[in-house]
């Protein structure tokens, strides 16, 4: 039987009625046998499309070849030549829209489970090294060849602002080129959205911690509780001797529904709700002192990955009913297919083709209802998706005691506000050229601060491109 005739292996998952009782991880990862068998499905294309589908250009057939031969160490080394955060990417990348989308096996059957295999290799390395009591610094890492002065610039200092996916990738790559990197983080913990945004059940924080430790082991210094733009300015960083600066300061203020009642008690923006639950561990209140409301009937506006995360957190906090309210139809839902299915399995209700007109509060200012308007799909809009059009007179009310608004966010405003020379788009995004350089010489940027809300892996791709650009700039 040829390789492409073997069915794609599915990662085991905890049953829905079990997993909604806690915040432990949902997907359980491949066994060694499953991983090897799945890796053998790769037909090792001479011109592998998958590599082009990966924003950080992992040599995918290369690592799968090692895995197919049972050499996991070889596989993880191959991955880490390009990607410093494989345990994260293996979990949260939308592979179905990237590497797996263009896998040749996908034409007639199902693509190789590249994401699950990346996760397997990263988890194996972490677990075996941990069992052997080895420090993170002994995890696989490869130096990166630089332009012309390979390793001749040890000691040149570069500042990386933000320790999310963009910052971690940029810092890791620069350190491997031999630069002396300081990574500034405004929050008390590193990781950015990996720490405050993505829930434990999708990305355990222990894994984020170890991936950060790995980047630190490459020689990156991490400074937490330093808000660039307030604690120190961009100008002060240059004065302190940093020769180049990467800004990866990430997400900013939430997009608003713009309906009356949005500031009522019990209305959260997704980032606040997720920050309380994930970063502050409010699900362990009062042992952890940060509180979070535990709504019984929860409405979530939006249908991206953040909306799914928020809905599933609300469910785990004890909600009886959680509804995703979305103004388009099922086809247009922007969240990953995998996350939609998991949310449905867990009992999240999807109310489609509705838009809010008002959030109604009781006499104490607490949310008690949302008023919705039915929509129908009209002609395609600028995004190519069919535009939702209100159905006149179709208003109806839904009883709720908590609302989560998850319709995106703008780039973080603080650095642009504190740095007038830094050019931005009208909507707040920092303007860069095609090599990630901003309007200020020596200052580069990437991730959500440039793109608005994007994915972990696109931010990592930006961080990687910026590291190359900074190396060129400093040459």
């Amino acid at each position: 039987m040829s390789a492409d005739k073997i069915d794609r292996h599915l990662m085991p998952e905890r049953p829905a009625n079990d997993r909604i009782k806690d915040f432990e991880e949902v997907a359980q990862g491949f066994s060694f046998e499953e991983a090897v068998a799945e890796a053998k499905r790769c037909i090792q294309c001479k011109n592998p499309k998958c590599v082009g589908g990966c924003p950080v250009e992992i040599d995918i057939p290369g690592f799968l070849k090692y895995l197919a031969a049972g050499d996991i160490e070889g596989a993880i080394k191959k991955i880490k030549e390009k990607n410093s955060l494989p345990a994260v990417c293996g979990r949260v990348c939308p592979q179905e829209d990237q590497c797996e989308k263009v896998c040749i096996l996908g034409i007639k059957g199902k693509p190789v489970a590249i994401g699950a295999l990346e996760r397997f290799a990263a988890d194996w390395e972490r677990e075996t090294k941990k069992l052997a009591g080895k420090p993170v610094s002994q995890l696989a890492s490869e130096k990166i060849e630089t332009g012309t002065r390979a390793y001749g610039h040890t000691g040149t200092r570069v500042a990386v602002v933000g320790s999310g996916p963009a910052g971690l990738t940029c810092a890791g790559d620069l350190a491997r080129m031999g630069y002396k990197v300081t990574m500034f983080e405004s929050l008390h913990l590193p990781g950015g959205v990996l720490s405050y945004g993505i829930p434990e059940f999708r990305l355990p924080k222990e894994i984020v911690k170890l991936e950060v430790e790995f980047v630190k082991s490459l020689g990156v210094e991490l400074v937490c509780n330093a808000l660039i733009g307030r604690t120190l300015t961009i100008e002060e960083l240059f004065k302190q001797g940093y020769k180049a600066i990467f800004i990866g300061s990430g997400a900013g203020l939430p997009n608003q529904l713009g309906v009356p009642g949005e500031n009522s008690q019990g209305v959260y923006f997704a980032n606040e709700f997720l920050f309380r639950v994930n970063m502050m561990k409010a699900y362990k209140f009062p042992e952890y002192l940060t509180p979070v409301l535990m709504g019984k009937r929860v409405a979530v506006f939006g249908a991206g990955n953040v909306a799914m995360d928020a809905a599933r957190c609300a469910l785990r906090l004890g909600a009886d009913k959680v509804s995703i309210l979305y103004r388009r139809s099922r086809t247009e839902i922007p969240a990953r297919q995998e996350e939609i299915i998991r949310a449905e399995e867990e009992g999240i209700e999807f109310t489609l083709l509705v838009a809010p007109t008002e959030i109604i509060a009781d006499d104490k200012g607490r949310v008690k209802q949302v008023e919705l308007l039915k929509m129908e799909l009209g002609e395609p809009d600028a995004s190519g998706r069919r535009r939702p059009v209100p159905v006149a007179g179709s208003e109806f009310k839904l009883d709720v005691d908590m609302v989560i608004v998850a319709i995106g966010n703008s780039p973080n405003p603080l650095i642009p506000k504190a740095t007038p020379e830094l050019k931005t788009e009208k909507w707040g995004g920092v303007i860069i050229n095609n090599e990630t350089a901003t309007s200020i010489p020596g200052v580069f940027a990437g991730g959500d601060i440039v793109r608005g809300a994007a994915t972990v892996i696109s931010a990592m791709g930006d961080g990687k491109a910026a590291a190359k650009a900074i190396d060129n700039y400093l040459m």
Partner: protein, 277 residues
Amino acid sequence: MSNKIIKKEKLAYNIHLIEVEAPLIAKAAKPGQFIVIRINEKGERVPLTIADKHAESGTIEIIFQEAGASTKFLASLKAGEYINDILGPLGTPAHIEKLGTVVVIGGGVGIAEIYPAIKAYKSAGNKLVTIIGARSKDLLIKESKIKEASDELHVTTDDGSAGRKGFVSDILKERIEGKEKIGLVYAVGPVPMMEVVSNVTKAAGIKTVVSLNTLMLDATGMCGVCRITVGGKTKFACVDGPEFDAHLVDFAELRTRLATYKDKEKEALEHICRLIK
């Protein structure tokens, strides 16, 4: 080098001063700005106004009232101990300009928070009329320092145990009725006090600025918990504030939002009281 408590002092009943090493914040802080602290790994992120700074020694002062779990916990710390995380300075600095006579009003623990503003308005060449008020004499703080920095100081207490019996707004009304032109009123204190002050000055058409103590979480322009309707638009206290035009602030909404975790706060306080016993 950082985050070590070098001085702890009880200023009044349940009101404490902590001086802590934070050299970068001491250097960068401007009047009107605040910090966020997290006492330990399980702590919440708590916003506190910077009451004073000492750039030479690299320290800042915070003054707080024991009200909830975190402030109770903070009050149990001693000199020599450390605060896990301190982030700052946060918020947009106060807009200081020469306006002639400036009336600065502090109520309750808000008295501590007006000191940097008094100094800044004074050095910008304004005549400083300061009014401070508390429930009773035992709750008055920083009186001598504030008196020194102001041209005039008026004190009120609810029970008459110090200064005039009554409210800060009583003295404010008298000043407004007088002949002297008031360029600006700047008020920090409990929400009802700021609202009363705002109503008084609105009727008289005097520009008034209040510093709002909204809920905060990341305080870096991301989560949106600090939002408040100002002039019919949603503003974010950590980016656009914490100071706003008092006459445009929706105080009723502020009160509602501040009460979000009332029940949870009791539970947290009981938990902390068991821990620090």
